[in-house]
Amino acid sequence: MRIHIFASAALICMLGLAACQPIQAPTEPSTTLDKPQPVAINFAMKVRDREARCGEVYEGLGASGSPVEINDMRFYISNVRLVNDKGAETPVELEQDGLWQVENVALLDFEDATAGCAETGTPEMNVGIRGIVAEQTFVCPECEPTAILFDLGVPFDLNHLDVTAAPSPLNIPAMWWNWQIGYKFARIDLKTDAAATEGAWFIHLGSTGCSSSDKNTPPEKPCMRPNVVSVRLDNFDVTKKVVVADIASLVAAVDLSESTPQPAGCMSGPDDPDCAILFPAGFGLDIATGACAEEGCPTQRFFRVE
């Protein structure tokens, strides 16, 4: 009996120690490793080199050289990582501010609900993300940050919440379709010279091919076409550089003077002719599969570093 107890105690003990092994390992070699470092990453919304603002008219956009006014400009990013010149990739853990950031998703909001943006917008704006990152990513003396990676989109497990009950910033009805499709990852509403739609040229990026019994039911499995853009931007020094989202280069290949109605512009429909050019040329996405046209979406033209 005594042996029995001893043996089982020993077994638990060994398991315990074995379990400790991988857990303690990383903390041993260096104590600086787990020292988190605050990081703020700045974003900007531009039309070429001009700041994008509600109520202003920008000339010469798209293949048609159309005049454009912006009625909305917001997008969700997630899964932000920084890479240093040693190739190490570290996730940025977002501060949970109860407003703009939740879990690993952040909303960037460049509209201020004035002029045309009043239709659906909010006066509050957010032009950067805040979080912590393991110190060695970019503060170690010998290494330099070289790239930023993030996804334009909301990950599946957070994409099909009820907008009414979801935590901020996933609680904005204007950025949500329904349970089935989930959130509008990006909402860039433009007013152009497209006659067929009285100027409306809306870009709503989101998943498609999500299957559930109806639009009020969230899907169980990830959608057929996630339409999440994975972005990698090189030459990124977090202390000096800004991630620029450029509406002009996003729509550069698109004829903004034409749009097939139903809907006006591109709302991610896989058979919407307005998406056929915008998706590959602007977002670097394959419209048929909803994945990157090439591994890592290198052909996206929305984001750049400045």
Binding site: G16, D97, D162, W176, E220
Partner: protein
């Protein structure tokens, strides 16, 4: 220890609904802790005490591990461990106390061996067992998590449960803002499934007494200067508190420019009335029908004392005011009248339509036709949902958990008097207040709940039926051929880009109407809590005789 067990068991069902594995783990921990108590009472021996140490200190270690090491747990993204909810604090404190008692007890029971202190002799097994249990559980949890289904999603568990869990777990800031309405906890909202708690101003918390007083006032013609009108004159329960007229006429015969709004879930409207971005509180809005002079509605202005005197002389009101406003020595005043009316209007919550029953899981609640109409309504082709979105079918929605402003106003192409986008004078939407050209014709998108009962439609009641409303949207605006309002609304430069027209056949139009009709909540328009109390009294008296 027993306390910790009870806490674990009590939070188990909630977690079971969230992620099955969490629920099972809590069930096991709680059960073990309680069984252990029974065992310890029976056999107070070293192995039993050691087990107790494992169940207290071991679980604390497990929690520390969860805190320290990012794990792949669903819902346990790094943040989770940082939130100390009440259950967590209580259970860890209880376990800590148990460990603090049990470890010395174990040490005392350990015989000292030759050459080794009693502490060393006892310390080794304790350390082993504690790390063993903690780490073993962590590993089991980390590897088995994915084996269990996320119950709430996979088994069709109603989503609102999952989602109610999430904010509670995730966003502490959200929780604190929800406590804004905390003072209304005494009031039982009886909210429909999926409805968040409404926002309530801090100086007018909801109480049943105020709501009941507000109900009497709402139906009382003595609240108008000349005693001819009450709120009900323009807000009739059977019509979802609209009035069935194009535009109403005030108590002194003066016509109003706007259609009487339905009073449906008004508590959630981001702004009040058809087009006023600055009007966000019912307490301020209700002053308008009572005191407004341009136009006169109830026309109380310059009859103030007279009206108050009517209530003071009444047999019922002095008592009702006193119980609704117990801290006010002279409670019959207009501030309290407005607060009571606002409380009653806030209580007018509607969320029990066939559509709601369908969403809650009763797939027979909607006809085939309504179901097809629902798909159309939420489609990218029709775009209705962009403006009529969310549980209250309007973008203009706020509630206790809202973190952003939600005022929304759009021009849906009803008029275009001068080809430059003009709407008829006096009814130019937000423009009337701001004078900004882009605000021309912008109105708040109304809720579509009970819309089948609220004809005629739009801010000026200028569309008679739902079918005509759909034709208006199909055309992408309204063309008025002749008369003072002639113009092509489809070409209104301020029209929203989301109203750009679409094509439907006869069947599809009927389907869409069937869907809109499925938003009618019969229980709302017959709810005795919202009905005319004076008629009820009259009926009672008849019954008494």
């Amino acid at each position: 220890m027993a306390g910790a067990g009870v806490v674990h068991l009590s939070i188990m069902p909630e977690h079971m609904a969230h992620v099955t594995a969490h629920g099972l783990a809590l069930l096991v921990f709680g059960a073990l802790q309680i069984v252990w108590i029974l065992a310890a009472l029976r056999w107070w021996t070293r192995p039993v005490i050691l087990m107790g140490v494992a169940l207290s200190a071991g679980l604390i270690l497990l929690w520390v591990l969860l805190y320290a090491i990012p794990s792949p747990f669903i819902g346990h993204l790094p943040l989770h461990a940082r939130i100390l909810d009440r259950a967590l604090i209580v259970s860890k404190l209880l376990e800590g106390t148990a460990a603090a008692v049990l470890i010395p007890a174990y040490v005392m029971k350990t015989p000292s061996a030759v050459g080794m202190s009693r502490f060393l002799q006892a310390g080794a097994p304790i350390a082993c067992v504690v790390t063993g249990v903690g780490a073993l559980l962590w590993i089991v949890a980390a590897t088995s998590e994915t084996l269990f289904p996320v119950f709430s999603v996979s088994a069709g568990w109603p989503t609102w449960r999952l989602n109610q869990m999430r904010p509670a777990l995730i966003a502490p800031a959200v929780r604190s803002s929800a406590s804004l309405s905390g003072n209304s906890a005494a009031y039982d909202w009886d909210l429909p499934q999926g409805f968040p708690p409404p926002r309530v101003p801090e100086d007018n918390p909801m109480t049943h007494e105020k709501v009941e007083l507000g109900r009497y006032l709402f139906y009382d013609k003595r609240l108008s200067g000349n005693g001819t009108q009450s709120c009900e004159s323009c807000h009739v329960q059977t019509l979802a508190f609209s009035d069935g007229r194009r535009t109403p006429i005030g108590s002194t015969g003066e016509p109003l420019e706007r259609n009487s709004q339905a009073l449906v879930n008004v508590a959630y409207n981001a702004t009040l009335t058809w087009a006023n971005p600055g009007l966000t509180e019912l307490e301020r809005q209700i002053l308008i029908p009572i005191f407004g002079e341009f136009p006169i509605e109830l026309g109380v202005t310059s009859h103030e004392e007279e009206v108050l005197e009517r209530f003071r002389q009444d047999e019922r009101y002095p008592q009702m005011f006193a119980t609704a406003f117990p801290d006010d020595p002279a409670p019959i005043n207009f501030r309290n009248i407005v607060h009571a009316l606002a409380s009653f209007v806030r209580s007018l919550i509607s969320g029990n339509s066939p559509y709601d029953r369908y969403v809650a899981g009763d797939k027979t609640a909607l006809s085939e036709s309504a179901r097809r109409g629902m798909e159309l309504f939420f489609s990218e082709e029709l775009e209705c949902h962009h403006c009529h979105t969310g549980f209250n079918f309007t973008l203009s929605t706020v509630h206790a958990q809202s973190t952003f402003s939600a005022a929304a106003f759009q021009n849906n192409g009803l008029y275009n008097l001068d080809s430059a986008g003009a709407y008829p004078r006096g009814n130019r939407g937000v423009y009337e207040l701001t004078g900004k050209p882009e605000d021309m014709g912008r109105f708040r998108p109304p809720t579509l709940r009970n819309v089948a009962l609220t004809a005629p439609y739009m801010h000026d009641g200028s569309i008679a039926t739902l079918e005509e409303v759909i034709q208006h949207y199909m055309a992408g605006g309204r063309v008025i051929e002749e008369g003072p309002f002639a113009g092509d609304g489809r070409r209104n430069p301020y029209k929203s880009g989301l109203v750009s027209g679409f094509q439907l056949n006869e069947q599809e139009i009927a389907d869409l109407i069937a869907f809109l009709e499925s938003l009618t909540d019969e229980s709302f328009v017959t709810d005795p809590r919202f009905s005319n109390p004076f008629e009820e009294k009259a009926l009672d008296q008849i019954a008494d005789r």
